[in-house]
Structure formats: structure tokens, C-alpha cells
Symmetry: C2
Subunit: 149 residues, 2 copies
């Protein structure tokens, strides 16, 4: 019976908050999402520097940065679960009170980043230049609306 | 002439410190390496939980965690360049004064993590169990020797 209750609790918890269940404590989720945004921002910044001429274009490096972005851009979103609005975070309450809008903004960023990834892998600097601007704007829009200064 | 000097400077800088050049300031490198270790540790922890029976084994999730680890385990090492021994870091000076030993420990961790990645992708819980222990030990060995408490 105890075993059944334990299993049932685990299942209920997993269904109720599949992402949150990956973190032992809310502050772990906060630390994780900030970390994944830091890595994402760093590699996006390297591509933006190539696109803007602040760094020399290097097709191989661009493709490697794309690989990191393709993996890391998926990560932070699962770490905005319940209870993660407190502590060392610049997350605005609107993330939870206007969850639909936040999801749209997050989806938009991911869609634009997917275009950056494809462009960086294509070996075309022109394609990269075309993709970086809209992606950066989508990051900024989400920051402006959902992140405290 | 100016253009030539600029290009030459960029080339010299790139050759002198290829990794460091990715970061505008040493503190950016420190923040980046901590962030990549945080993401790495989180996903390794999820596989370790499956291997140790603290979480149910899920072959698909294991493989997804492996994809993140395969990408992220490569990242932090380039961010231990000159000048990154200061600020908000627990890095011990031995990282730079015993650079050979640090490289060996880092290489060992990456080799063990590569085995974890292969095991997690194989769909075999037994393979995962076999790989997680030595990888965790290699992480710990590096932390014990090169990270302040």
C-alpha cells in the first residue's frame, strides 16, 4: 500500500508539473534557467558579432555555435514552474499572470533562433546576417516585457 | 595600412588566445563557465538519479539528457583563460599553476562523460548504471583538487 501511494504520488507530481519535477528546489530551477540563458546568450553573441562585422566570419565556428544554440535554446523554458518567481531572479510576475503571452514570446524566440541555427549551418554569411536581427529583436522583446531591469 | 594593422592585430590576438577572445571581459568568462557547469551538472544529475533509482528510468529522457551533456561538456574549458582567476569564482590557483594536471582531470571527466552519453543513448539502464559512477567520480576528483569549498 505504501509502495502504491508512493508510486501514485510520483505519477501525480509528474503529471502536474513535469518540468518542475526536474528540480529539487525552486532555486535550483532559477539557477538552471539563468545558466542556460547565459550560455545561449554567449553563443548567440558570437554569431551576432560575425553578422555585424565585429568578429571575422568563420563558417566552422558559426556552425559550432549553432550546435550549442540548437541544444540550449530549448532548456530554460521548463524552469519557469510554480514557486520559481522568488529569490535571485529578474523574472517579472507577468510570466505567470500572463502565461499565454510569455509562451508566445518564448515560442517566437525559439522560432527565430531556429532560423539562426539553420543560417549558421548553411555557411552563408548573408543568411546569418538576415537571421540574427529578427532573433535578437525577439530576445529583446521578451526581456523588455518579462525581465526586470 | 590601418586596415592591415587591424587585421594583423585580430589575427595575432586570435592566435595568442583563441578561447579567451570569445569573452569581452574575464568576468564574462567566469560567468559563462559557471553557467555551463550548472547546466551540465543538472542534466548529469538527472541521469544519475535514473541510474541510482531515485527517478524512474525513461530511455527517451535519458537520451535527451545525453544530447545536452554531449554539447555542454565541451564548453567550460575554454573559459579558464588568463585573468579569469579573480572575481566571483571558486576556481583554485592550481588550475593555472598546475595546468597540466588540470587538463588531465578535465580530459578524464570529458572521456567519462562521453561514456555516459553513449550509455544513455543506448537505451540500456545497465549501461547507464555502469557509466554514471566513474563519471561522477571524475567530476568529484576535479572539484576536490581544483575548486574551493
Amino acid at each position: 500500500m505504501n509502495k502504491f501511494i508512493t508510486l501514485a504520488s510520483v505519477l501525480v507530481a509528474a503529471l502536474a508539473m513535469p518540468a518542475q519535477a526536474q528540480f529539487a528546489k525552486p532555486e535550483d530551477a532559477v539557477k538552471y534557467r539563468k545558466a542556460s540563458f547565459t550560455v545561449l546568450g554567449s553563443h548567440f553573441g558570437r554569431l551576432a558579432a560575425m553578422a555585424n562585422g565585429r568578429a571575422p566570419y568563420d563558417a566552422k565556428a558559426a556552425s559550432e555555435n549553432a550546435d550549442v544554440i540548437a541544444t540550449v535554446a530549448k532548456l530554460p523554458w521548463a524552469a519557469f514552474g510554480e514557486g520559481t518567481d522568488k529569490g535571485e531572479t529578474r523574472a517579472k510576475h507577468e510570466i505567470w499572470t500572463e502565461a499565454g503571452k510569455f509562451k508566445d514570446a518564448a515560442d517566437k524566440s525559439q522560432a527565430e533562433l531556429a532560423k539562426v541555427v539553420a543560417a549558421a549551418r548553411s555557411g552563408s554569411l548573408d543568411a546569418l546576417k538576415a537571421a540574427v536581427g529578427p532573433a535578437g529583436a525577439s530576445c529583446k522583446a521578451c526581456h523588455d516585457n518579462f525581465r526586470k531591469d
